[in-house]
Amino acid sequence: MPIVGNERDTVEVALTEREIERIKSILGRDPYITEWGMFDVMGSEHCSYKSSRPKLKLFEPAEENYDYVLAGPGQDAGVVDIGDDYCIAFRIESHNHPSAIEPYHGAATGIGGIIRDILCMGMFPIALLDPLRFGRLKNNSHSQWLLKYVVKGIADYGNCTGIPTIGGEVEFDHSFENNCLVNVACIGVGKVEDFTPSRASKPGDYAVLMGNSTGRDGIHGVTFASRTLTEQSESDRPAVQIGDPFSKKLIIEATIEAVKTGYVRGLKDLGGGGLSCASSELTGDGGTGIEFDVNKIFTREPNMTPFEIMLSESQERMMFIVKAEGLETILEIFKKYETPYAVLGKINDSKLLRITDADNMVVELDPTLLSDFPAIIREEKRPDFLDDLINQKTPERSLKFDEIIYRLIASENICSKEWIYRQYDHEVGVRSVVKCGDGDSGVLRIIGTNKYISASAGCNSKHCFLDPYEGAKGAVVEIGCNIISNGLKPIAMVNCCNFGNPEKPTSFWYFSECVKGMADSIKFLNIPCVGGNVSFYNEDEVLQKVIKPTPIIMLLGYIEGQENIITLPFKKSGNPIFLIGETKNELGGSEYHSVIYNIEGGTPPKVNLDFAKRTWDFLLDVNKKGYIKSIHDVNKGGFLITILEMSFPNELGADLNLYDCFDKDLTSEQIVFSESVGRFIIEVDADKIKEFIVLIKKYKLYFKEIGVITEEKQIMIKGLEENFNLDIMKAKNLFNSTLPRIMEGDM
């Protein structure tokens, strides 16, 4: 990496020679050392989105095209109006790199950061979700260590701040062994008048830094996250910070009270890039400027240089832009909560960021030079190995169907994740309506209204690995199906793109294709993208191993009326079971291939968006009529796994006759194990079958009545290559015992 600076100080920066020359020529001088540090962090991939920005333009502008979107991409969180003066803020981001070397504090500070993102929109944080990826667990102490402490970090921080974790998703795959993924999402609620944008738009306002003191921790955290992990990462200590949920709780209370006064015009949290990022983005995006002395910033350690102060990523800090007439009121609130603060200075119209250290000028530049870093056009190339992989054939089946299904239900990616979510407090705040395990998404009541929201997040990394375009489409549809399954309507999306090194054309191709897939599908489904986060460099340089592409989709659902909310457990014997959606020859990237044969290839699912949209419209329509008693979307392992999951809670069985229900060209394995996207298993009220069928025909959907719910604790399957039965209690035991057995030391 190039070394820059002057006779007195030098610093190593992760900037290209071209970027360095550009900075010098625009400024017409050599930057000061603190400015170099700021250019270095703000030019990092994490802050600048320099590789991803050209692709992210594919998402249509949310604020312009959807009247209920109050804040779209570029703000600290997406904000949507849900009527009657209420709005919802939500965002997802990655904390992969810190968590890979210090899982407990890495995950905890990830939660801390995402809570601040919601808070700084003026919204009160009410729920967390965490999509995770690790290496395979069995006989792998490193993956087990990461999982154990990531979950503990999330649980401790979330529980201490009193914010419930309502959902999440986890996949285990060898590609994540040294680069685990920890994505964290937060949802907040508030009144429309409390919505506070992340900019300083009015000269004369005061900039006030509030929260914990600034220390030497985390200096250069973002440049660390914009690099691949190497052997040296263990000693990259400064990039890991220690979370402090107790201070955070006070900061949340103080911030909400401050916002309620109406005197806060702008608000931004200090995360990656610290003060450099907050001060340059607030003024750069607001078209204003500011001047302050770094000595006003309260530090934890003596003798910190301006360079260290501007680059520190100490946790639990917020920057408030306060109207002049309200300054005293706001400061009184901070005093009441005993949260330290410093009035840095006044916003002015100079369009300059001027920072002094007593009498010395240490920074003097146009903040947009930092906040709008030029994009880089990256090369893309489809990997050569893909064709061979997609052409992989399913090996000859040697096991019986029931044996395969018992293995699948006990496999790491399908088994119950209760071991994880029981550590989270998922009920604190008395808003949860559908809890972890009872539905496909977490559903929350907005207290004081008849409004309900839900959220679900995830994607299928194996499908994306084989076909990133279709895989990303599949992720949007699958997450949407989770929302629909609880009776809510998807209204907005945020995403978290986790990929390898963008400087490598094949890694960048995966990113590019996934963005296309996401953009095409949300456009078709009329869902605005209101925010996102990109995490590149999830790649192990030593082992030459790249993670499977993981475009995590998070959707927000909305509905009025608790009577519209449905859950997944089978309710009553005698009710018929329907399968909606087309089952195709799509075993590529399936759990069947991976668990039974240890192969990753085959033909991955293709997504029919038109069909998905009609299915959703039908389900929202039929749901209002109350014909549906339970519903679950078909996901990993195929539709029999879905039926088993629905049978476990109330221990009800099913009698299935699959004769003539599927395309004649499909083999029995393809029928049972294919992971075709957009399908649902539905329990219909036995008295309403006729009405149900009339309505479904109107929507021209693929559907079959495949069986009936029974009292017996088994699923009986007829009409395939062989007839077989599945014992519900045996399957349930396998489903529930896998993670505890692995994590508590039996495997």
């Binding site: 070397i101 200590r237 220690i242």
Partner: protein, 87 residues
């Protein structure tokens, strides 16, 4: 031979210690004890181990704590306070 190895695990000096600072701020400073400048917390382990001699006992405990990730060398320091022969 059986040895008692006393070990302290604490956050590295540059890392924050929220528990220690809460004790210092909320329990001590508020009562007027302004001569107390800082409090750092840690974890104390007393490990009983069979080994041939003191050095081996100490080295074994250090390696075990590291290998099993009983502490994380990225954010914490391990200090062996003492190694004593068990009576």
């Amino acid at each position: 031979m059986e040895y008692i190895v006393e070990v302290v695990l604490e956050n590295k000096p540059a890392a924050r210690d929220p528990v220690g600072s809460t004790i210092q701020k909320d329990l001590i400073a508020k009562q007027g004890y302004d001569m107390v400048l800082n409090v750092r917390t840690g974890q104390y382990l007393r490990i009983y181990v069979k080994a041939e001699n003191e050095q081996l006992a100490e080295r074994f405990v250090e390696k075990m704590c590291n290998d099993l990730r009983i502490f994380n060398p990225v954010t914490q320091n391990l200090t062996v306070l003492s190694v004593k022969k068990k009576n």
